[in-house]
Amino acid sequence: MLELRDVHVVFDGFRALDGVDLTVPEGELRFLIGPNGAGKTTLIDVITGLTRPTAGSVRFGGHDLVGRKEHRIVRLGVGRTFQTSVVFEELTVVENLDLAASFRRPLWSLARRRRGVSEAVAEALARTGLEELAERSAGVLSHGQRQWLEIGMLLAQRPRLLLLDEPVAGMSGDERERTGELLTQIAADHTVIVVEHDMEFLRRHASTVTVLHEGKVLVEGSVEQVSADPRVQEVYLGRRSTDAVGNRP
């Protein structure tokens, strides 16, 4: 479904991605990990059109994504969230979701006032558990609630591929728990790529993991295979021993 071939990105001489190959089949839940600066976010940026690769190809469902504008990629069915969640604070939760759900409507039809809540919005509200807060303005939400709203907006878009950039960063334990459940639910009927640092979260929810290091794919496989790999241990031990994959209790 998603296929990256030999993707290179260079920022002012710095090789952010250096020949990445990545294939994600339909229906998979893929985790993307790696130390800081490994190129995880850049990879997401390349897929969603925010960063144009210096070389290489990105194909999604038979379409070439390189050079397409961001909103056109979304229209092909690729949605994403951001590390620091960006929701529209002046709009209510339901308005945020409704906006996300309405992009396939022609522009002129938007000039009509919204009446009620569409099916996609209702579903997103239910899944993210934000029903109670539906009419509150997004500006008053807590950090965790914002992340859920962002995931909800992603769901309301009804994309074929979801890209989540560190969905549990900065969340409390409880919130992580709920996000994890949400993720499992979503993964049941979507193709998902998750960028995540949190190892505990990874161990609990990941099936397939791709490890990036210095702009290259280091290893790819199941959680067990990856954490057993000596190269991964070395990369992680050299940097952040507390988080290291090899440091199993």
Binding site: K69, E70, H71, R80, F88
Partner: protein, 338 residues
């Protein structure tokens, strides 16, 4: 439903019934002029307040509308060439002018001309993601360039003088008080209709989208919308309003000149919108009327003081009440209820 429309209805009654009855013709004419500015302000409120596009060149669109109307009025007089062409040494009516003898074409151009220019400019600028300050500066430069262009083409546009000395509109003598009262009603009516339409737009999904584009243009892209398109369309709508306002302004005030569409008048209207309250459409309208009135009243009292006052008001509004009078009113109301 009734409660929702009550404020608007009250204002509409005052504007459409009370004002023409109570005001003497000269003052009614002034009010009509402020209402023309209010139409432009409404467009600025939409583009800037809702859409975050700080346009400092709204005078250009106002001017295009005004010039279209003025060209028609000049030709409608009959009697050959317009006066300024005679003293500019133009001997034959320029081809550009010929279709403006038709009132439908002239009125159409007054609105569609600005819309077309805004579409072109918006497409060029927004597609390249030029925004914020850059956009503000470019629109400002557009206003400056437009003035120079109009002034330079004296035979075609009347140069610095602009065009004046109009006698009749659709067969009505413009000097008559009754014509002026009628014009006032037309202006007030147009403003009312546009206000309702804009309010409808702001409360629709499109309005929500516009606010989203204002607050997070890049994020909107990842919701599958093209912000450039949204902005261009909104910018064009505000340009159309300014054009219509210009077309109404000319018979009301009796003159159009490059001085009306330069950087300073464009900025003054933005100030008015800021003072009234940029996030509320009513604030934009209110700001334009109040500032227009303040300028007339204060310059009658003390000339140089107006500049101080305008400058000071501006600094105060920006630092103390960035949401303008409407924002202040809202804050007061909340303070009272809590």
């Amino acid at each position: 439903m009734i409660r929702r429309h009550l404020p608007f209805a009250t204002v509409a009654v005052i504007a459409l019934v009370a004002a023409p009855l109570l005001l003497e013709p000269f003052r009614l004419g002034l009010l009509a002029k402020y209402l023309c500015y209010a139409i432009v302000a409404l467009g600025i409120g939409l583009a800037w307040g809702q859409g975050g596009m700080l346009t400092l060149g709204q005078g250009v669109f106002f001017g295009l509308g005004g010039y279209s109307m003025a060209m028609y009025l000049k030709l409608a007089e009959g009697g050959g060439l317009p006066d300024f062409m005679v003293w500019s040494g133009v001997e034959e009516l320029p081809a550009l002018w010929v279709p403006f003898a038709n009132p439908v074409f002239a009125l159409g151009m007054a609105v569609l001309g600005p819309v077309a220019l805004a579409l072109v400019l918006g497409t060029l600028v927004f597609r390249q993601r030029v925004r914020g300050a850059y956009f503000a500066i470019l629109t400002q430069a557009l206003a400056a360039a437009m003035v120079i262009l109009l002034v330079g083409q004296q035979g075609l546009t009347g140069g610095t003088n602009g065009m004046t000395n109009f006698f009749e509109l659709f067969g009505q003598d413009l000097a008559e008080d009754s014509t002026q009262r009628g014009l006032y009603l037309v202006v007030a009516g147009v403003l009312g209709v546009l206000y309702l339409a804009t309010r409808q737009l702001v409360q629709s999904r499109y309005g929500r989208l516009l606010v989203a584009v204002r607050d997070g243009e890049d994020r909107v892209r990842f919701l599958g919308y093209d912000p450039a398109l949204v902005k261009t369309v909104t910018f064009a709508a505000s340009a159309g309003m300014a054009g219509l306002a210009g077309a109404l302004f000319v018979p009301v005030v009796g003159i159009i000149s490059p001085a009306l569409l330069g950087v300073v008048p464009s900025l003054e209207l933005v100030v008015a919108v800021a003072v009234g309250g940029r996030h509320a459409l009513a604030g934009a309208v209110l700001g334009a009327v109040v500032m227009g009135y303040a300028k007339t009243a204060l310059s009658e009292q003390f000339a140089g003081g107006w500049l101080y006052l305008q400058g000071a008001l501006f600094i105060l509004v920006m630092t103390l009440a960035p949401k303008g009078v409407v924002g202040l009113a809202g804050r007061l109301r909340r303070a009272r209820t809590t």
